[in-house]
Amino acid sequence: MTGWRPGWREAAILLPLAWLALFFLVPFLIVLKISLAEPILAQPPYSPLLVWPEGGGWPALGARLDNYLVVLQDDLYVRSLLNALRIAAVSTVVMLLIAYPMAYAMARAPKNWRPALLLAVILPFWTSFLIRVYAWIGILKDEGFLNHALMSVGLIDQPLVIMNTDWAVHIGIVYSYLPFMILPLYATLERLDLTLLEAAADLGAPPWKSFLQVTLPLSLPGIVAGSLLVFIPAVGEFVIPDLLGGSDTIMIGKTVWIEFFQNADWPLASAIAVTMLVVLVAPLALLRRGLHG
């Protein structure tokens, strides 16, 4: 019997916690602090949280909720948040519909094929994300590859206007995030015990029924993991709507960028970021509680 020394076990748990604290909690607290300030023309461009009176004594708290009031009251921010949620949600559903059959086929492919198929899914990562999104401009623009191909086949005689619309943003998000949906789905489907499907067939379930009653419920963890993995970053996506979307495609990530860099209003931008986080995390926390009784 060797056994764990208690010190090591605690260190192993502490490591991810330390990571989370250093790279998530601390930056979040800084953003939270800035969101309670007001913009000033200085370096840094926001008022301090604690105002030290001249000549000593207790500092005064310089926190204000004005920025949050602006976020909630100004139609622009609420709309861009809802817009981002909608685009992310639609893209997630589309990805699920595309990724599930792909992951299923991969998991059922002969064992010696699977590494190659897995590699094919990850291969796009070898190219820069930015370049891949740029490439879509060449495909989707009015005189791009897609329109050219469709017109030369004779399916359409006027170019489809896809570029600079929500369509292009959806396509860009689905294309960019698809591997993150496929991989967790593949992982759960590959682990699925095929005798369970034989048992279902033996008990009288034709293939489509055993899919609905056995395969689908047992792959639910993969569906949830994949959906979260693509939905959350898609809500905050900035590059894709910026490059492929039009001026009326306002997503929350783009709004934050405008406030930070165009308007130099760091406190307002921070307040938007905090609001977005709360909107995303609160339902997840509730869902977790619901799932775990």
């Binding site: 015990d193 005798t195 369970l196 034989e198 048992a199 279902a200 067939a201 033996d202 008990l203 009288g204 379930a205 034709p206 029924k209 009653q213 056995v214 419920p217 047992l218």
Partner: protein
Amino acid sequence: MSAPLVRLEGIDKGFGGQRVVDRLDLEIGQGEFLSLLGPSGCGKTTLLRMIAGFETPDRGRVVIDGIDMTGVPPYRRPVNMMFQSYALFPHMTVRDNVAFGLKQDGVDRREIERRVREILDLVKMGDHADRKPAQLSGGQRQRVALARALVKRPKLLLLDEPLAALDRRLREHTRLELVNLQRELGITFVIVTHDQEEAMSLSSRVAVMNGGRIEQLGPPALIYERPASRWVAQFVGDVNLFAGRITQCNGSGLTLDTPDAALLAEAGAAPLATGSDAWLAVRPEKIELFPGTERPDGFANVIAGALVDVGYLGNLSVYRVAVGSGATVVATLANRRPYPATGLDRGAPVWLAFTRDSGVVLTA
């Protein structure tokens, strides 16, 4: 005999060029408890899977209840199977697992509830209906798997190594329950096993399989007492084989000339040609052992030897005896007197003795 429930006609099946089942014919009667017994790779599981519909034979027909089911998918066969791994649905409760088959058939909800409760009570799992498979012990899972396979009242229940995952004590107990259950329900059982003791104690008939063929088919006692070949004799239980040449064979008996002695045996139904090679198969427990130098009387066959070693098993002892030809003969004796018995030291001279009807003459 009425028409058989299952008829397998000339079944061939191979995987990747390897012949697994080889021109096999088998009839399974209504209400029978048949064991497919054989070493791993003998084709017994493949045969079971072809009856269930998970595999399609390359050649031949699978006829169930008078209907050709060769190409029919498993979900349209009046057959249910209990899997070796049990294959319980991990996301469903015991109740939902058992109800699964009835739901596929669109049975009325109240009727499902009633039949599920009935079958769970029968396997004594009524109190665990709301548990998930992960919350059950191995023995409990086995019962649920059995209930799930029985609840549709199939004409035929296939069991793939149903007791392999249980520990010894539970296995012996469950064996009795399976036999009782089968009698009570009157369903035909076909069980796959590599455990000869299991096949012996459970079934009304045993099919001993080897290399994709059935070597012998018959009631357990016949398989053990009258094996059809050396292979069967050696696979089912332990056996001593005395090789020799037949010197006499007529109505009164058979004489086999072996290096150790001329052994006497009963003549079989088919007369054997004198001068041909044969083996006399004698089970270890049918051989008596006498210490000392005085040749025992009253036995047709007596061979002199020297004790090599003794294996003490508690209820039994296994004696290994070297005989003149250099072979080692095994005799198993019940320890009716307190062990160790006197005069049975290693190297001691002993006599091996068995009666005329103790051995079986084999030519294959």
